[in-house]
Structure formats: C-alpha cells, structure tokens
C-alpha cells in the first residue's frame, strides 16, 4: 500500500506550521490587551500568513509520492504502544494544509475588517488562532490519536466561537447544541478508535500510526472492520453535519460570519470527509459501511437542498447548502471515490467561503440584517460583493467551467460509472435544486427593488478593502481551482495524478466511454440550467414578491400565471419540497433531533433528580446505606463459602 511505496523524508519545518498560530494565540492571551485590538488582530493574521507561506513551501518541496515527517517527541508510551507527537505531510495533507492555512489566512484578514467594531476582538482572534492550530493538528497528525485531539479541539473552538456573542442567550444555547451533538458523534468516533485498538491489540499490534495501520488491516475480520468504520462514520456524521445529526450546523450560524465561513463551511465540517479519506484503507474493504455512507450522503445532499429552498435567512440558506455539499462529498466517499470527495472539499472551500464572506459583507452593510426578505437591489450598493457573489454562486450551482462544475461533475460521473444510478439521479436532482436555491438567494439579495428598512438604507456601504480583497481572491479560486481536475476529454486531471497515489488502489477510477461521460455531464448541465431559469423566473423579475410560495395571494397567482412552467414547478416540486422541508424544520428537527439531544440530557437529569433523593442530608440514612452495602458484601462472600 501507500506507506510501503512512498519515500519518507524528515522535514523539521513541519512543526512550525501549527506551532506558529499557537504561539500567536499564546501571545494574544497574555499580552493581547496590552497590544491593543489592531495589533493583536494583525499578529494573529500574520501568524497564519507565515503558516501559509510554510505550507506553500512544503507543497513545493513535496514529491508526488513522498511523505514528509517530523517527530517532536513521544507523547504517550506504555509498553509497546507508542503514540508520537509527530506530523506528516503527504499529498492529501498538503491539500488540506493549503485549504486550512490559505482560506484561514484570507478569513483572518477579512475578520480584521468585519470585527473592527467588536469589543471582544482580541478574544475572537485568540479563538481563531487556536482553531487553526487544532485544525492543523487534525490534518497533520501522523496517527489517529493526534487526529482525535485536533478533532476534539476544533469542536471546542467551534463551540467557543459560536457562543462568541454570549450576551445573547440564544447563541450559548446554539453553541451548546453544537457541542452536545458533536459529542454524540464523538462517542461513535471514540468507540471506533477503541475497537480498533482493542482488536489490533488482541493480535499483539499496538499502534495508531497512519503509516503502520494499513499493514495490519488484514488481521481484522470483515465484520470487525465494518463495525469499526461504522462507528468512525458516526463521528464523521456528527462533525460533518449529516443526517441525522446535521441540525447543529444551521444553529451554529449564530456565530460571527467569518467563523461560519472558516469553521462551518471550509474546514472543520469537512474533517469527517478528511478522516474517511485518511482512513481509506479501513473504509475501502468495508463495502457495507461504504454503501451506508453513500446513502446517507445522498439523502443528506437532497434533503438539505430542499430545506434550503424554504429558508429566508441569508446564512441559513448557506448553512443548509453546506450540509448538502457535504452530502455530495460523502456520496463520493461511499462509492469509493475518495479523490473526488477531496476534490469537491477543495473547491467547495473556496466558493463556500466566498459566499459566506459575501453574505457577511452584506450583513455588515445592512447593520446586521440577515433576513433576505428585507434585502433586494443591493447590486448597485455593493458592486464588488455582488460580483464575487455571482461568481461563487455560479460555481456552487455547477455552471460549466467553474470550480463547482468540475468537482460536482466528477462525483456524479463516478456515481454513474460506478453503476449507482439511483445515487446519480439524486445527485443530479440535487444539483438542480442547488442551482435553484442559490440563484433564488442571489436574486432576492442583490436584484429587484430594495426592501431594505428605511432606517438602514442611508448607511449601506461597500465593505473596506480588507474585506473585499479576500472576496476577490476567493472568487478567483472559485473559478480556477476546478480546472485542476478537469475530465480527461478536456485537458485531463492534474488533481488525480497528485492525489491518486495516496489512495492507491482504493479508488475505482473507472473511465467509461467519453461520449457517455459528456452525455451525463450535459444532463446535469441541463438540470442546472432549469434550476437557474426557475429561480430567475420566480425571483429576479418580481423582486418585490417575497411571499412564501404556499401563501400565494391572488395577485401573486396572476403574476405567476404568465409563467406556466413556474406554476408547474410550483405544483409538483416546490410545494411538496417546501412541505418536506417545513416538516424537517418544524417537526423533525425540534422533535427528533432536539429531542434526542435534550432527551439524553433530560433523562440523565431525571435519573439524577431521583437518585439524589437518597442523599437526604440525614447522616443516619447514610450510615444505613453504608451498613447495607457492607452486609451485601458479607452475604455475597458467605454465599461463596
């Protein structure tokens, strides 16, 4: 497998990539207030910038099949079980490094502008740097335990950042929910690691190193591997917001927008995808797990897309869209196309970060307004934001020659050529839905006439350069990153050549006939075009009309009648979907998921309240408890006699 064929070289530089943000974090903790808001922010951004530079340098040095390795010290050792604090960079990690430091750097810069007026700026940057550190630990750790440390760490930072504007009780609750749902996922993750360690330990193998594990996978029985991977996948479901644990992500939008962009779009939520890709050698021989992953991924992609249609909060739309796109990635993982999953992760990071930051720019301009019904016509006020938003929307919708087109198309093609036509169909429909809700958003926010509340109107302004420059960079990325992974009938995929060695034979890179491939692509493009057209028809020309579809009044219906296709779509698609999404939003989420989350807490609390009655405060009752236990022990012993 991989480790045996690739060359391992030591590069002491690696440690500085995560350590520099950590140092900046420490400096800001102790001296942040003394340095002042601006300096602290600049320091934090600069630290990530240095990490980015180092990451680029490492990327440049890295040969295609090589692995760089850097051992700091042995973290935990007991007997033959040794866990090192050491970092490794291979092609997969290198890509994640670029995403984390690159997008992270841009978002730090952006935050300098976005958080300029916030009192807790120093604290914000402390958390942000800490997050970058843990995220880098997650992707660079050379063993499962380090990955787990990073995994838990980013969860914590996410929790802290979502609850950042704590004066709002709602935010702390949202943060709590995120944390608890994640802990449910973590339970699976921990148990999975546990099982892996135990089962290998039973064979006398005590290791969690990524380099060692693939050699010993063959010692495990298929059933064990299935169970382990299923448990690990539960962790990924929690972290990457898949059905049924996706609810925390929309709630997490309560945090500052740069946080949503960095953590809840580009990096942390993709950790689940990264983990499955990193452990591809475990997942690949577990077909049962893979099919479950594929089904959950497809289902999540579809349902989240339907829910997104009914959202009016600009960030909620993006949140559900993130859930949906993550579903695509898992769909890819499920069919064994790890490379395609990571490719989509890569392109998605750019356009989704761009969208989030763009929405942040809008919110910033509108004094914190997030309701799309109170926007409209912002195109002329915020030209730079608008154009970058357009590009990113094109990309996520999958319009040809944008990044999203290539990556999504790759996944769909893999599904098709893999023979999973049902999955493919779901993917294609979802692509149409994606185009619809994203353009709906674009039109509602930037087109039509302005519905902005009067007192806000005079203050609308384009954001400063610190905010628009990152937007422009990300918009450029939203186009060109996709070109790295063009299909063979265009100029071929640079991407596959780069990433493929990591996954060895794990990835079924079937290449069917080119005509079929093009045909399949054309179907997708057609569906996407329909989605865009419908959104245009419903929302662009009649920008003032913001009434939800099912509440359509007479006038609304008359206006609609001129567009028969719209009516048609409304009847057969929008209404049922809206209903489903409403059902999801109003019943499933609060009852099932909240119920599950709060239920655990409630049941525990209930038990707690009952049990604590035993603690009556009467010392003689305690003594009776003591004596009863002693008697029980004595009688237990006497029975043995």
């Amino acid at each position: 497998m991989v480790a045996s064929t690739s060359t391992v070289a030591t590069l002491e530089l690696l440690r500085w990539i995560p350590l520099i943000p950590l140092c900046a974090c420490a400096i800001n903790i102790f001296f942040g207030r003394a340095l002042g808001h601006r300096t602290a922010g600049v320091l934090a951004s600069a630290a990530v910038g240095v990490s980015l530079a180092l990451a680029l340098y490492v990327f440049w040095l890295l040969p295609a099949t090589g692995i760089f390795h850097d051992l700091l010290y042995t973290w935990i050792e007991s007997g033959s079980f040794r866990v090192n604090l050491s970092f490794q960079v291979d092609a997969l990690t290198a890509i994640m490094l670029l995403v984390v430091t690159g997008i992270g750097f841009l978002i730090h810069i952006y935050s300098l502008g976005y958080m300029a007026h916030d009192d807790g700026k120093v604290r914000f940057f402390i958390y942000l740097n800490l997050f970058i550190f843990f995220m880098l630990l997650l992707v660079m750790g050379d063993n499962l335990l380090l990955l787990f440390v990073g995994w838990e760490g980013v969860g914590l930072c996410s929790y802290l950042l979502v609850g950042f504007w704590y004066h709002d009780a709602k935010n702390t609750i949202a943060g709590n929910k995120a944390f608890i749902v994640n802990r449910i996922g973590d339970l699976g993750f921990i148990l999975g690691i546990f099982l892996l360690v135990t089962e290998l330990g039973r064979q006398g193998i005590w290791t969690l190193d990524f380099a060692e594990l693939p050699k010993h996978v063959s010692l495990l029985t298929p059933a064990t591997i299935t169970l382990i991977t299923l448990l690990l996948f539960v962790g990924a479901v929690g972290k990457s917001a898949q059905i049924p644990l996706f609810v925390w992500l929309p709630d997490a939008m309560a945090g500052p927008t740069p946080v949503s962009a960095l953590i809840h779009a580009a990096t942390m939520v993709t950790a689940g995808v990264y983990m499955t890709a990193r452990l591809h050698f475990l997942f690949a021989p577990a077909p049962y797990t893979l099919s479950i992953i594929a089904i959950i991924g497809a289902a999540t992609a579809f349902f989240a897309a339907t829910v997104a249609i009914a959202q009016n909060d600009i960030k909620k739309v993006l949140a559900y869209s993130t859930v949906s796109q993550l579903g695509y990635m898992f769909l890819a993982v499920g069919i064994g196309a790890f490379s395609a999953a990571i490719f989509h992760l890569f392109t998605h990071a750019f356009f989704k970060a761009c969208l989030f930051l763009g929405s942040g720019s809008v919110i910033h301009a509108l004094d914190g307004e997030q309701d799309m019904r109170k926007m409209g016509g912002l195109r002329s006020y915020l030209p730079k934001t608008y154009w970058t938003y357009v590009i990113a929307t094109l990309a996520i919708a999958g319009v040809p020659l944008t990044a999203g087109f290539f990556s999504k198309d790759l996944i769909l093609w893999q599904a098709f050529s893999h023979g999973s036509y049902a999955l493919w169909l779901v993917g294609v429909v979802t692509a149409g839905l994606t185009a619809f809700y994203m353009f709906r958003q674009l039109f509602m926010v930037f087109h039509g006439s302005s519905r902005v509340e009067d007192h806000v109107k005079p203050h609308i302004h384009e954001s400063p350069a610190v905010m628009t420059v990152p937007l422009i960079v990300l918009a450029i990325g939203s186009i060109f990153t996709g070109w790295l992974g063009a299909p063979e009938y265009l100029w071929g995929s640079l991407w596959d050549r780069w990433v493929q060695p990591v996954f060895g034979g794990a990835h079924g890179a079937e290449h069917g006939p080119v005509t079929t491939e093009i045909l399949v692509t054309l179907v997708t493009v057609a569906i996407v075009a329909i989605g865009i057209y419908l959104a245009y028809a419903r929302y662009a020309r009649t920008g003032t009309r913001v009434v939800p579809a099912e509440a359509a009044a007479g006038l609304y219906r008359v206006l609609l009648n001129s567009y028969w296709i719209d009516e048609f779509y409304d009847r057969i698609a929008v209404r049922p979907f809206t209903r489903v999404s409403q059902w999801l939003a109003q019943i499933f989420d609060p009852l099932v998921i909240d119920g599950l989350v709060n239920g655990v807490a409630k049941v525990a609390r209930g038990f707690s309240l009952i049990w604590r009655e035993a603690q009556t405060g009467n010392v003689q009752h305690y003594l009776i408890g003591f004596l009863a236990a002693t008697l029980a022990l004595l009688i237990y012993y006497l029975r043995q006699l």
């Binding site: 903790i29 010290y73 042995t74 973290w75 935990i76 050792e77 007991s78 007997g79 079980f81 787990f148 440390v149 838990e152 760490g153 914590l156 802290l160 609850g163 704590y166 004066h167 009780a169 702390t172 943060g175 709590n176 944390f179 608890i180 802990r183 973590d186 339970l187 921990i190 148990l191 546990f194 360690v197 135990t198 330990g201 807490a601 525990a604 609390r605 038990f607 707690s608 309240l609 049990w611 604590r612 035993a614 603690q615 405060g617 010392v619 009752h621 305690y622 003594l623 408890g625 003591f626 009863a628 236990a629 002693t630 022990l633 004595l634 237990y636 012993y637 043995q640 006699l641």
Partner: protein, 479 residues
C-alpha cells in the same frame, strides 16, 4: 532492630514544620501570622526537595513497618504539592472567614504527615495510625469555619461516618491479624503464600472489611454518602485538600495493601470491585448533573473520578497500577484548581457557589475563567489536557486486562460528564450578572495556586511521559 532514620525524613520534616508553626503561633502577633504560611511553605518545599533527593531509594525501617520506596515518594510529592497549594490558596481566605491561621496551617501539615505515613506504611497498624492522624486533622479542618453552621454540620457528618467506618476497618485489621498472626505486610503476604485451604474464613471477611474501609475513604458508591455534604460544607480550600490529597492517600494505601500485598485474595472481590467501579462512575456522574451548586457538583464529580480510578484497581497488574498512580497525578491539579477558583468567590457567611455566581467571571477575571475552563475540560477528559492522558491510560489498562466493558462504560460516563462541566464554562462567558458588585477573595497567592494548577493541567496533558515514567517506577518499587 534496624532503625535507620532516613526513611522517616520526609514525614519528620513536615511534622517538624507543623510543630514549629503550632508553637510559633503562640508567640507572634495577630498581624504577623502571615509568616506562618511562609514557614509552612518552606517546610513543604524542603520536604519536597528531600523527596526528590531520596528518589530511587528503597529502604525499610523499624522492622520494615515503614518503607521508603518510590511508591511512597511519588505519593509524598503529590501530598506535599497539594498541601502547598492549599496553603497558598487559603492565605487570605482564612482571614476573611475568621479561621485561626496557626492551627489551620499546622493541621494541614499534621494531616500531610499522616498521609505520608499512610503511603509508606508496611504495617497495618502503622497505616491505621497514619490514617487516623490524617482523618482527625481533616475532621477538625472541616469544622474550622466556626461561624458557619454548614461547616460544623459537615464536620459532624464527616466525623460520625468516619468513626463508624474506622470501626469496620479496625475490625478488618483485627481479623487479618487473627488469621495471619501479624500486622506486618511482609509477614501477611508470606502467610498468604500458604495454600488457600488453610486460611480461616475470617481472613476473607477481614479483607472485605478493609475493602469497606477503603471504599469509604475514597468515596466509592455506596460508601460515598458523606462526600457531597462534607465537601460542600467544609471551607473550600480544605475541600480541595480533601478531594485530592485525602483521596490520593486512601488510594495509595489501597494500592499497596489490598492490590499488592493482599493480592492472593483478589479473586474473591473481583466481582464486587467491578460493581463498585461501575456504580461509582455512573452514580457520581448522574448526580452531578442536577446540582445547582458548583462546589457540590465537583464533590459528585470527585466521586465519579474515584470510579475511574477504581477501573485501574480492577485492571490491576502493571498497567492498572501505573495508570492509577498517573491518573491521580492528572486528577490532582484540575480538581484542586477548580476548588481554588471557588475559593475566590467566597463571601463572608454566604455560600457563593452556584452556577449563577459564575456568570460573567469570564469578563471580570479573564485569566481565572480561562484556568477554570481548563480545569473543567481536563476533568471532562478533553484532549490534550491532563484528564485526557489520565483517562487514556486507565481505559487502556482496562482493555489490556480484558475489561473492555468497564472501559466503554467509562467512556460513556466521561461523555455524560460534559453536560455539567460545560455548564460552568457557559456560565462564565454568559451575561454579567452574578459577579456584579461582587467582592472576590483575591490574593496574588491564590492566583499563583490557580496558575500553577493550570500549568500542571497543561503540562501533564502535553508532556505526560516523565510523570508516567515516575508512576511506573513507583509501582515497580512495590516489588
């Protein structure tokens, strides 16, 4: 009879300091009493230095009734560190609450002496007297806040239950003495090498009663009832001292006596111990959830942690014992630190220990709040803090020993524990309110204690190997 005095050195050092503090107290003025704390710290520091210098020695004295080995020294270090932190964090507290300083410090030191004896004792009687010295001193410390009705109630409950448990423990020692003809652990374990058929049945009952006594001291469910009430009522620095040092001392004796010397009896209490461990973890965690008071929540949490430690006892062998020692070292700073933060919030006569009183601490005292967050996260087993590495080893030792079910229950419990640990952090970064217009018992010394505990929490999580090595060599010195 050999009577080398060197093995007595650490204990004698602390005892001497206690006597000096006690006597000096009589001769100095009210406003100079702060000096006593410094003398205590100096004595403890000297003892710590001696313990470091003596590391690696293995010497018995007074007919092998007291053993100075790495095991004893490891625990001595823990006791001294905790005692020193207690002194640091109570320097202003005792003044605010009207606790008499001289007696307070000397009793802390007396209790520490008792603990050192317990950890080094190789004779049931020596152990018992060490235990009593510690217990009596801690009973008094619990009731020392004399103007507080809760403090005296706690002392009463602690004493009553403690004396009751002492009766059972002593009865156990009597039965073991009767069966084996000696109280010296060397001779007892020599006796236990005889074939099992020859043992009188009351030997087992003696062991069982010892188990009950130890179960009481470590706060294992169902012998835990005293813990919440006593921890809540006692002056907060004393609570920290109890939750860490007293518990560690009890586990030290448990590890040396029951786990090691009496190990031939193991097979008879394997099942009860498993039940004890599961009940202790689960009940401790469950009951902690519904507590309105952070101090009481921490009391229950300390019960839950005793449960995790019991996993180490059940697992036994090399890894179980090593991880037990290591877990105690990782548990110590976080627990003590949390109680030190509660000390900060104390106000005269009014308990200010509810979750609500932590509201806004994150803004008023950002560093303290950060340290508290660290402690909570460490107790919840969050990587890469001390609690994580500790739990990692405990659970791994359980897996190695074939108790995977215990390890899984432990993991479930530590996930459950997040519910209540997290609430503290949430409250601290919530709206201001509880803290508004509130006076803190602030002193640079208390902050030093909190800072040291926080540093140790990070250190043991990030660089655990050295301490783990120490734990291992402490364990192997038992052989």
């Amino acid at each position: 009879m050999d009577a080398s005095l060197i093995p007595l050195l650490p204990g004698a050092q602390v005892l001497l300091t206690a006597l000096v503090v006690m006597l000096l107290d009589l001769f100095i003025d009210e406003h100079e009493r702060g000096l006593l704390a410094w003398i205590s710290l100096l004595g403890l520091a000297l003892c710590g230095a001696e313990a470091i210098l003596l590391w690696g020695s293995s010497e018995g004295t007074f007919g092998d009734t007291l053993l100075l080995d790495n095991f004893a020294l490891f625990f001595t270090q823990i006791f001294i560190a905790v005692a020193a932190l207690t002194v640091l964090s109570s320097m202003r507290y005792v003044r605010e609450t009207g606790i008499h300083e001289g007696e307070f410090y000397s009793l802390i030191l007396f209790a520490t002496t008792g603990m050192i004896v317990m950890a080094a004792a190789n004779d049931l009687m020596v152990f018992f007297l060490g235990l009593e010295t510690m217990s009596v001193a801690v009973y008094v410390l619990t009731g020392m806040w004399r103007s507080s009705a809760r403090s005296s109630e706690a002392a009463m409950k602690y004493f009553l239950m403690g004396a009751f448990a002492t009766g059972f423990l002593l009865y156990g020692i009597a039965l073991i003495y009767g069966a084996t003809g000696s109280t010296n652990l060397n001779q007892i374990s020599a006796y236990l090498l005889e074939p099992q058929g020859q043992w009188p049945p009351y030997l087992f009952v003696g062991g069982l009663l010892l188990l009950v006594g130890f179960g009481f001291k470590v706060g294992a469910v169902p012998f835990h009832f005293w813990i919440p009430d006593v921890y809540e009522g006692a002056p907060t620095p004393v609570t920290g001292f109890m939750a860490v040092a007293v518990k560690a001392a009890a586990f030290a004796a448990w590890a040396r006596i029951l786990m090691h010397e009496l190990s031939p009896l193991d097979s008879d209490w394997a099942l009860p111990l498993r039940v004890l461990a599961i009940a202790t973890m689960t009940i401790g965690n469950l009951l902690a959830i519904s507590q309105p008071s952070v101090k009481r929540m921490l009391a229950y949490s300390s019960i839950a942690h005793a449960g995790y430690l019991l996993i180490g006892i059940v697992a036994g062998e090399e890894w179980g014992s090593t991880s037990l020692l290591f877990y105690l070292a990782t548990y110590a700073p976080a627990t003590f630190g949390a109680f030190a933060v509660i000390t900060l919030l104390t106000e005269q006569d009014k308990p200010k220990e509810d979750y609500g009183h932590f509201a806004g601490l994150g803004f008023k005292r950002p560093f303290v709040a950060m340290a508290m967050s660290l402690f909570m996260l460490s107790l919840a087993g969050f990587p890469p803090l001390a609690g994580f590495t500790g739990k990692f080893h405990i659970f791994r030792s359980a897996i190695i020993a074939g108790h995977t079910d215990l390890a899984i229950i432990g993991v479930l419990n530590s996930l459950l524990s997040v519910i209540y640990y997290l609430r503290v952090i949430v409250m601290m970064y919530m709206n201001e309110g509880g803290v508004k217009g509130k006076s803190f018992i602030e002193s640079p010394y208390l902050y030093t204690a909190v800072g040291l505990a926080a540093a140790a929490t990070i250190y043991l999580g990030v660089l655990p190997m050295r301490t783990l090595e120490w734990s291992r060599s402490a364990f192997s010195s038992l052989f």
